[in-house]
């Protein structure tokens, strides 16, 4: 047999095998599963759904449907309402909470949920070996920080105890008016001890997976889909609105919009999933919902470097930023310019006014600091991270705008330094920068979530700025049981932060943008935490979709 004959035979067989393989692949890849009631585009792929480990908003929005805490967030207001605990009492000094669990609580696998599960879940989150990013949210408990720091080895000394199977007694360091909100954050929710001890890091893949929340985790395929099914044993299952929910990670805003427009997705709840170029057109549509939320965009000064060790220089730079122009020209989502750090809408708190736009005063201050007209001012760098998704390049545009404003108003020269996310965070925490773009999203609805960041020893300070008076005011505020007096103390602290010392300059308050058609989707509400509990969301019949006419017109223009 000649080589060519052999070759021909091999090729014909190979061709056959190839066709068969393709056929098998095709039939194998076609999914046979019921369609979901609701499909949600969730932004980034969750890093984890383990309540102790997760960190991003995308992670939390899924995890809070699967694991529940003593309280949960109200879908309308974002404030805490009873969850696994049906009621709780607070001692007169505000430092002891007694939670009463509901008597009908079971895991999705049928075992009862008891006070011991609360203690286990909280101690697990605090245990340094768990390496929880949000462990700090539990430091309001007595001895909790010392336990995480390894100074106390005995977990029974931490201020959480099971008084009886249905009663949890919690001791706090200070009266913490927002503690019931803390009990709704995923890091405090109930996780199944036996499953975790049996499977270790991969416990979420256990079948069956005992869950404490409204939804069972059917599967989680990375970068593909998370499917949730109603947990019939959940205490409030009668009010769980949808049976099957699909949650998809989406990396590109264009893909998100196309999927939504073709009806493949019902809800898109990440502001980053709106194509920046279409923002002005889309925001006019009735199915695009914008609302204020508790997130602030700001930049940091590295006060350990000259000339930014001089408060007058920092004030001058702050006064020369036209924030109005930045939100009108660049972000365009209806953001509010910020002169203070704590966003409007924060509970029990109104911020003092910070520095506005006053270039004349800025030039004066810069001259006082020894740089009249910017003469002799050293070149410096503004560090920012490459925007995720890369589409809108908001950070880069703002950097360029700042560069121009300072050059025109103050006569100083700034270089731009764009970095990858991990390198940027590293440089920031090592104080290896001059100015650095920053942002912060409220963990809970209270001024402390923002003002606590810039106390001298907080790991999130990252400016090198230390101010004893500021630390003292924040600490006293946190020990103050009277809400009015507490607000006054926080206001004095914030005045130091944004008017006198200015280690940071707030630029604007983010807005939340979700899109969904209210004719078809209900139970999702704008709230300041941009938090939307899954069990409340439902589809209503087959109302007519909002047609994308305006979008079509925009494309034609």
């Amino acid at each position: 047999m000649s080589i060519s004959q052999r070759a021909r035979r091999i090729f014909s067989r190979a061709r056959f095998a190839f066709c068969v393989a393709i056929l098998i692949c095709f039939t194998g890849c076609v999914r046979h599963e019921p369609p979901a009631d609701i499909t949600i585009l969730n932004g980034a792929e969750p890093q984890s759904l383990d309540p102790a480990i997760l960190s991003g908003q995308a992670d939390m929005r899924v995890a809070q449907g699967v694991f529940e805490g003593l309280t949960q967030f109200d879908p309308k207001t974002g404030r805490a309402i009873p969850g696994l605990a049906e009621r709780w009492e607070i001692s007169p000094d505000g430092c002891t909470y007694t939670f009463h669990l509901r008597s009908n609580l079971v895991w999705s696998t049928g075992e009862p949920i008891t006070a011991d599960d609360v203690v286990y879940s909280w101690i697990r989150a605090l245990n340094p070996a768990t390496a929880s990013e949000y462990a700090g949210q539990l430091f309001f408990l007595k001895n909790a920080q010392d336990f995480t720091d390894g100074k106390i080895k005995d977990p029974t000394q931490v201020g959480v105890h099971a008084a009886d199977p249905l009663t949890v007694r919690v001791e706090l360091n200070h009266p913490t008016p927002f503690f019931s909100d803390i009990c709704a954050i995923p890091v405090t929710s109930m996780v199944p001890r036996q499953t975790i001890e049996k499977y270790g890091d991969r416990w979420l893949m256990a079948k069956p997976l005992p869950v404490s929340g409204a939804y069972d985790l059917v599967y989680w395929r990375l970068n593909d889909k998370i499917r949730l099914r109603k947990n019939p044993r959940y205490w409030n299952a009668a009010n769980t609105q949808s049976d099957l929910i699909d949650i998809l990670p989406v990396g590109s805003a264009n893909a998100a919009l196309s999927l939504y427009e073709r009806g493949e997705a019902d809800i898109v709840w990440d502001a980053a999933l709106i194509p920046a170029g279409l923002l002005d057109v889309l925001l006019k549509r009735p199915d695009f919902h914008t609302f204020i939320c508790l997130d602030t965009y700001f930049f940091r000064f590295n006060v350990t470097r000259k000339p930014f060790d001089d408060p007058r220089v920092r004030q001058a730079l702050a006064l020369a930023v036209d924030k109005e122009r930045i939100v009108k020209k660049i972000t365009q989502g209806g953001e509010q310019p910020a002169s203070h750090l704590v966003p409007a809408g924060t509970a029990n708190y109104t911020s003092p006014e910070g520095l506005g736009y006053d270039p004349a005063r800025a030039r004066k201050l810069l001259a006082h600091a020894g740089y009249p007209g910017g003469q002799g001012f050293p070149r410096f760098q503004y560090m920012f991270n490459a925007s995720a998704g890369g589409g809108s390049k908001i950070h880069e545009k703002i950097a360029v705008e700042l560069q121009q404003m300072w050059r025109d108003q103050l006569g100083i020269q700034m270089d731009l330094r764009q970095m990858e996310w991990a390198a940027y965070l590293n440089a920031q925490s090592q104080l290896d920068y001059d100015l650095s773009r920053s942002g912060w999203v409220a963990d809970y609805n209270d001024a402390n979530t923002f003002l606590g960041l810039f106390t001298s020893n907080d790991g999130n300070n990252r400016t090198g700025w230390k101010n004893a008076q500021y630390d003292d005011l924040v600490q006293r505020a946190n020990q103050e049981p009277d809400l009015k007096a507490r607000e006054k103390l926080f206001q004095r602290a914030e005045t130091i932060l944004v008017r006198d010392e200015v280690p940071i300059v707030p630029v604007y308050f983010y807005v939340g943008i979700n899109y969904y058609d209210t004719n078809r989707i209900q139970g999702i509400y704008p709230n300041v935490l941009d938090n939307h509990p899954l069990q409340a969301i439902r589809k209503t019949g087959r109302g007519s979709r909002v047609e994308g006419r305006e979008l079509d017109n925009a494309n034609k223009q």
């Binding site: 080589i3 060519s4 070759a7 091999i10 090729f11 393989a21 393709i22 692949c25 095709f26 890849c29 076609v30 999914r31 792929e45 890093q47 984890s48 759904l49 480990i53 960190s55 340094p128 070996a129 768990t130 390496a131 949000y134 462990a135 430091f139 920080q145 995480t148 720091d149 390894g150 890091d201 416990w203 893949m205 395929r221 990375l222 970068n223 593909d224 889909k225 998809l248 990396g251 590109s252 264009n254 893909a255 196309s258 999927l259 427009e261 073709r262 493949e264 990858e420 996310w421 991990a422 390198a423 940027y424 965070l425 590293n426 440089a427 925490s429 907080d458 790991g459 999130n460 990252r462």
Partner: protein
């Protein structure tokens, strides 16, 4: 024998690649656990580094990695701490491979005939039209072609889904978007190969013997002309099978290509190294297959 030797040589090559990848990712500034939120306690930072052995010297980590690798264990993703790299590959690779295989089929199915006919009709309008087509698709990148296809077929005419990867209908646009570039490349290589083959002596000889033009081109010239395409198809297949960040991202396809890019941005050390190795293995393996195919196609080629 020759192929056995090549296989044995592949082992040290993979070792070098893994060592390089390992060293390079550890050199990159920042680390996988640098987060916007500072760790609540230095103890937590210490615990997490100890857990993933990041507190050890890099060479020690590397040998630990090799030890695990010998057992077929690529380690745990540092970004997605509940998933192993093996999980991620097992889940994403079949999707990317199917996408790649379809794109390969498309590239060959379009590229070979176009190349063949443009060469056979050299200098006529068919040649210019075909060459223009192949030049165009080589020059226009995927991130332009893919949205264009979506705009036409999905949004304007509503014929095909805009994304996701569920039914055969979902598997039409992405392979085309991914395969077009390679179709153009194949067409150009094929045309070139045909032109060369048609001028070679054995074709002239066959023509002198009175062989029909069609038979001459298909039977004799084609087999030689296709050789450059074959040698190109090895790296091309490796490229296609490991997925494409751009195409997977645009069409929301749960393949491995997205991880290839994102793992580097996240400094997810085990995932970066694991995927680099996977890519290397595919590239080496497919080049071997290509060389083997050469011996079958071209009687002049023999490996000792």
């Amino acid at each position: 024998m020759y192929f056995l030797k090549r296989l044995i040589f592949a082992v040290p090559l993979l070792l070098v690649i893994s060592a390089l990848a390992f060293a390079l990712v550890h050199l990159a500034p920042g680390g996988p656990f640098d987060r916007e939120r500072a760790p609540a306690s230095p103890e937590i930072e210490r615990a997490i580094k100890a857990k993933y052995h990041l507190d050890e010297p890099v060479w020690k980590q590397y040998f630990r990695y090799l030890g695990d690798l010998a057992h077929g264990d690529f380690g745990v993703s540092l970004k997605y701490r509940n998933h192993t790299v093996n999980d991620i590959i097992a889940q994403g690779l079949p999707v990317s491979m199917l996408l790649g295989a379809l794109a390969f089929g498309f590239a060959m199915g379009v590229g070979l005939p176009v190349g063949f006919f443009t060469a056979a009709r050299r200098g006529r309008w068919e040649d210019y039209a075909g060459s223009f087509f192949s030049m165009l698709v080589v020059c226009v990148p995927g991130f332009v072609i893919a949205p264009l296809l979506i705009l036409l077929f999905s949004i304007k005419w509503k014929l095909l889904p805009v994304g996701l990867w569920e039914t055969p209908w979902h598997m039409i646009l992405p392979p085309i978007a991914l395969g077009l570039f390679f179709a153009g490349k194949v067409a150009r290589l094929m045309r070139e190969g045909m032109l060369n083959a048609m001028q070679s002596e054995f074709v002239t000889a066959a023509r002198a013997k009175g062989l029909g033009e069609n038979r001459l081109l298909l039977r004799h010239a084609f087999r030689i002309a296709v050789l450059p395409v074959v040698s190109y198809s090895g790296p091309m297949l490796a490229d296609l099978l490991t997925g494409s960040f751009v195409i997977e991202n645009i069409f929301q396809i749960p393949g491995i290509g997205v991880f290839l890019v994102n793992s580097s941005l996240n400094l997810d050390y085990p995932l970066i190294v694991g995927l680099s190795l996977l890519y290397a293995i595919l590239l080496i393996g497919l080049n071997l297959v290509v060389d083997f195919a050469y011996t079958l196609l071209d009687p002049r080629v023999k490996y000792e």
